[in-house]
């Protein structure tokens, strides 16, 4: 027990004092969180910059509340008919979003497809105003109405989607690198030999490494969730605490990935590169950086074969999608199976010595 604690503490001190590993385990993923959470989280889109050619009767004649809504989304400047072509050229160059003119009963909108999201918004919103005006002109109450309800919690935002994935990536990275670097570093400096010549059983050494990595993972989780909640308005749902056992299972799985890299590679750099080579593409394929919902089917299949995908999915479910605690169980099982298989392979390939 004394030996266990001493080795775990030695590993933790070694980690905390290594600026590079702290950076890659905590600061680097947090930078992504700040990027996605802080900057892209800004959902209020800027108003559509618009020039209207002369008077646009349809817009001007909107009822008061509709006109206000229109002014919120469109920033209109009126120009003379003579300037029409110049204005359209501006749109083409991207200096302007929209040129509106009314040709009899037809509202003509000149816009660019370069920004597809904005283009769709412009078309949709204008269509809605035209439809609304048509209904109003007939003087009848509309028969049908639409009530839009997102299946997620009303307040679900960008930060809620990205936090679980980025956390998964951070945990995968530090567990895999930690294990790979320790194994190879200790082998190169002969510390592994030296420990082998002490009465400490191998299981205790491995256990100390596992516990140290889990503690690091818990700190990562705490920082991510804490910062996300406090600074970026992350909304944790009911059974978010299930992310703790999930993170434990993920750590075990990626320790095994690192162990495998460490066992295969000859040098410390080789092991770290190998871990990187495994984890980074996996992070992309597992939706750590962007959701894979619109990815082609074959990519989805590959994605499902990645342990990180299951870690990310499980965390999304319990942390922000509001699923019950049971939603984490299957991902946890999958992660443990991966951990067991990879550890078994690593153990087969493991050598005490560099040669």
């Amino acid at each position: 027990m004394k030996a266990f604690k001493a080795i775990a503490v030695a590993i933790l001190k070694g980690f905390v004092r290594d600026k590079a590993s702290v950076f890659f385990a905590i600061v680097f993923p947090l930078m992504f969180l700040v990027l996605f959470g802080g900057i892209f989280n800004n959902t209020e889109s800027s108003p559509v910059e618009t020039k209207s050619v002369g008077e646009v009767a349809l817009i001007d004649g909107l009822p008061k509340d509709a006109k206000e809504a229109f002014d919120e989304s469109f920033d209109v400047e009126q120009v003379d008919a003579a300037d029409r072509d110049d204005a359209i050229a501006e749109v083409r160059k991207g200096d302007l979003d929209l040129v509106l003119e009314q040709d009899g009963d037809t509202l003509v909108a000149h816009y660019t497809q370069t920004d597809q999201v904005k283009a769709a918004t412009i078309r949709g919103v204008l269509q809605a105003f035209v439809d609304g005006t048509n209904v109003a002109v007939t003087g009848q109450e509309p028969k049908f109405s639409l009530q839009a309800e997102s299946v997620e919690d009303d307040s679900m935002q960008m930060i809620d989607f990205v936090t679980p994935g980025l956390l998964g990536w951070a945990i995968a990275m530090s567990a895999a690198f930690g294990a790979a670097a320790t194994l190879n570093g200790w082998r190169t400096t002969k510390l592994l030999r030296r420990i082998q010549l002490s009465p400490v059983p191998t299981g205790v050494v491995v256990g100390a490494r596992v516990v140290a990595t889990m503690l690091i993972a818990l700190v990562q989780t705490a920082i991510f969730l804490g910062l996300g909640t406090v600074a970026f308005g992350l909304n944790l749902t009911g059974s978010w605490w299930m992310s703790v056992p999930l993170v434990m299972c993920g750590t075990l799985c990626f320790l095994a990935v690192g162990l495998l890299s460490g066992a295969v590679a000859k040098t410390t750099e080789g092991a770290v590169n190998m871990a990187n080579f495994l984890v980074l593409p996996m992070a992309f394929l597992s939706g750590s950086f962007f959701p894979l919902d619109s990815a082609p089917g074959w990519l989805q299949v590959i994605s499902k074969a990645m342990p990180l995908r299951h870690l990310n999915d499980g965390m999304l479910d319990v942390m922000v999608r509001g699923e019950g605690p049971a939603a984490a169980l299957v991902p946890m099982g999958i992660l443990l199976v991966f951990a067991a298989v990879l550890t078994a392979i690593a153990a087969k390939l493991f050598r005490w010595d560099t040669v």
């Binding site: 004394k2 001493a6 080795i7 030695a10 070694g14 002969k190 420990i195 010549l197 002490s198 400490v200």
Partner: protein, 299 residues
Amino acid sequence: MGAVDVAELVMAYGDFRAVDGISFEVGEGEFFGILGPNGAGKTTTLELIEGLRKPASGSVRLLGEVPWPRNSGLLPRIGVQLQASAFFERLDAREQIHTFASMYGVSTARGDEWLERVGLTEKAGVAAEKLSGGQAQRLAIACALVHDPEVVFLDEPTAALDPQARRNLWDLLSGLNDDGRTVILTTHYMDEAEVLCDRVAIMDHGKILKLGSPAELIRGLDAPVRITIADAQLSVAEAGRIAGVDDASEEAAGLVLTTRRPADVLTALAGGDQLDGLQVKAATLEDVFLDVTGREYRA
């Protein structure tokens, strides 16, 4: 029963026999040296005795037990300093020895005592990576001894140290077997083996060439003693006539007399008051090595 008993030990890397049929015993409390040039097989021999490697043939007994495969009953009784300083990354000297103390289940206070004994108390807060070569060796030795082992293995503890640091370390090393501990040390340095070891095995190409106490080995060599005195006290011819002088010659350092009866020759020189600039150089282990291998010893 000795502390170590090695018989007909062979160990090969592929076809290459790094240890090629060696046999020796080390008694309890003995300071035993394995001396030889690079690649002689010293480290491999230690690793075989420690139980890190499997012998191809032959047998090893350490404290009466078989060390390979990993014999966990034996491990608390031995201490090891490896050729490369094996430390935990980014821990300072005190944290290193405390970690090792805990690994052996002894109190960290013992770690502090050993730090003091090897003269590193002042450097206790310095990261192991930042210690000088000699300080790192001292720390590694302290870590090997923190649990007070019965047998301690030191693989080139003075490698890469300057002569001054080497001699400082000798003071520490020579006391290690005072309380009955067995010490097995490898070295490149003849003078080191002569000073520290009760017995030495001279090793080359995986074989033991000579085994015995340094004095015994040198005596067995029957090499002449070289006596040098300042010029102009004596002519070469006069020197040649002194009883016991085998050969006399003028060299850059002065007049050199070779003899197998140094006591008689020195008495004669003293009688003639001809001892100015006296230097006496007896045979050393270096000469033993030259004698058995036919080549100059280069570490």
